[in-house]
Symmetry: C2
Subunit: 329 residues, 2 copies
């Protein structure tokens, strides 16, 4: 077994995951802590979760063996531009006993690397938000969407939730009996799937229930759409189809026609056999028939791989990728 260890971290809004691996692909430890997005939670709290996840992954590992590290997180650019945030991360790194340098990358790059070892390709992520990015030599290049819920995130969980409410409101405006998805959305928002005698009363209650919360929480309704689409509910199915077309359109803004390098699908709505992944795959295959379509996997392992591949003793990064992320092979 190689003496050299690398650590990778995937810091997301709801959880932080760490992995410590050897250069021959042995996983020595993993760690998990709370959400640590420095933009939404503040850099100090993010650094605290980073430290907790690191310590768990390094339990029983001599930190002097760790030669490289990589952190993937949303808003990486903002962290790097913020001296205080960077200092908080440096302290956590050093408090974990680590003396080696670490790199910070955007979560989109780490998601990409979790799905393929190819240095060039495209990543498409749909979760609460939605973003597509070109990857060139394992660096993020051009980006499409990711503009946030007010101006973008087309085809995202926010988009699905908002459109589900808009379809419900259209039913109520028309004084039409809401369909199955609309009834579930109504129940989630108002506590009851029943419509008042005056349809407008229910429509106003729906609008009030939504506007009481931060707009981005409309994404909480996306699982209702996903579940209903799995059951073949027609409105949910059409929303998923529309979202898939919007996501493919975002990709087409940055990915050249005829490209044959891989496309990695990531984010909660595209990882696994979700209805949105099933709908977006043919959209992408139609536009780029010769491109492999991959699925994002273990972000912490991918971050560890990104850290390892710059070490001189890693002569075959593709082989190491296959060991660390076998599902992507």
């Amino acid at each position: 077994m190689s003496d050299t260890v690398v650590v990778g971290l995937d810091i997301g809004g709801t959880s932080t995951r760490a992995a410590a691996v050897t250069l021959d692909g042995v996983r020595l430890g993993t760690g998990r802590a709370g959400g640590g997005n420095p933009t939404s939670h503040g850099a100090d709290r993010a650094a605290g979760e980073l430290l907790a996840a690191l310590r768990a992954a390094l339990a029983g590992v001599d930190p002097a063996r760790v030669r490289a590290g990589c952190i993937g997180l949303a808003g990486a650019g903002r962290l790097l531009a913020d001296p205080q945030g960077r200092a908080a991360f440096d302290r956590a790194w050093s408090d974990a006993g680590l003396r080696c340098p670490y790199a910070v990358h955007g979560d989109a790059l780490v998601a990409y690397a979790s799905g393929t070892a190819a240095p060039d390709g495209t990543v498409l992520i749909a979760g609460t938000g939605a973003i597509a990015a070109q990857v060139r030599d394992l660096r993020l290049d051009r980006v499409a969407d990711g503009h946030g819920w007010l101006l973008g995130d087309a085809g995202s969980g926010f988009w699905l939730g908002r459109e589900a409410v808009r379809r419900l409101l259209a039913d109520l405006d028309r004084a039409a009996t809401p369909g199955e998805l609309a009834r579930r959305v109504l129940a989630e928002l108002t506590g009851s799937p029943e419509v008042a005698e005056r349809f407008r009363t229910t429509a106003d209650a729906v609008v009030q229930a939504v506007t009481r919360r931060p707009p981005v929480e409309l994404a909480r309704l996306a699982p209702l759409v996903v579940t209903a689409a799995r059951e073949g509910e027609p409105v949910a199915t059409s929303l998923i189809t529309e979202a898939a077309a919007l996501l493919a359109e975002s990709v087409s803004r940055i990915r050249p026609a005829g490209a044959t390098d891989p496309v990695v699908l990531g984010g909660g709505l595209l990882t696994g056999d979700t209805p949105l992944a099933e709908a977006v795959r043919p959209e992408l295959a139609r536009r780029w028939p010769d491109a492999p379509l991959c699925t994002a996997g273990d972000g912490a392992a991918a971050a560890a791989w990104l850290a390892a591949r710059d070490l001189p003793e890693v002569t075959d990064p593709t082989a190491l990728h296959a060991l660390l992320l076998p599902a992507a092979a």
Copy 2:
């Protein structure tokens, strides 16, 4: 000249207008004051503007001659449900020396009545927001949209402004040189129509400029779309066409196929020879070929007419409408 006087008020977000008229159609006075929407400005301030406009309209008129009044405002239902707000309006009414009762109606009904004397019809309003309503016997009946910028207002000024920014962001994502409308939107938001060497830098600056302000202020960009559409700019023209289709769709949610009663167009984007009015007229004419299309006029005069028509001595309300609102005839 009739001794009997009626007063009408049209309370909007940016101005309050009052008119005092006789039952034979003579305008005795008009008044104007600041915006008085009780929902956005508070009922006390709205009542203050109401009083200022009333006093101006009644200068030189013995208030004992006033036999009826009508106030049109957005959020009329909320005012009527709020005892404190209602009390503030009662005080302003009495402080103006008025002893007669007054009615409160939604601004949509007053806009409708400013365009036609027909008791039944449809009103479509597009300003910052967008709403359509059926009118039955000069009461608001079913309503479509008006659900606010987050969930509705399809085809409104907010919608035009947001879509103009989204088209600009799509250009920047594609690394395409922005067109004329996009350049104007960019200049309005960032102070310069020039794109940075890295397109994403400009896209991020655009998103930040928008998210620094309340979302509804996207409606401030609508005049850029209107002006560019007048000049034939292709993106602006396509946004106006799309907005017109959305507005007509909202009307179709509530207006029966084959209806022949009038449709009144109101709100800043539809009053006069605006590009949106020009685009929405054929959409409506296609769906309801036998319906007269009218344009909203003087809201204060329409409110006065609504007050007058319930008085027993008004035997021909249509004739009075023609005197008070000659443009609608």
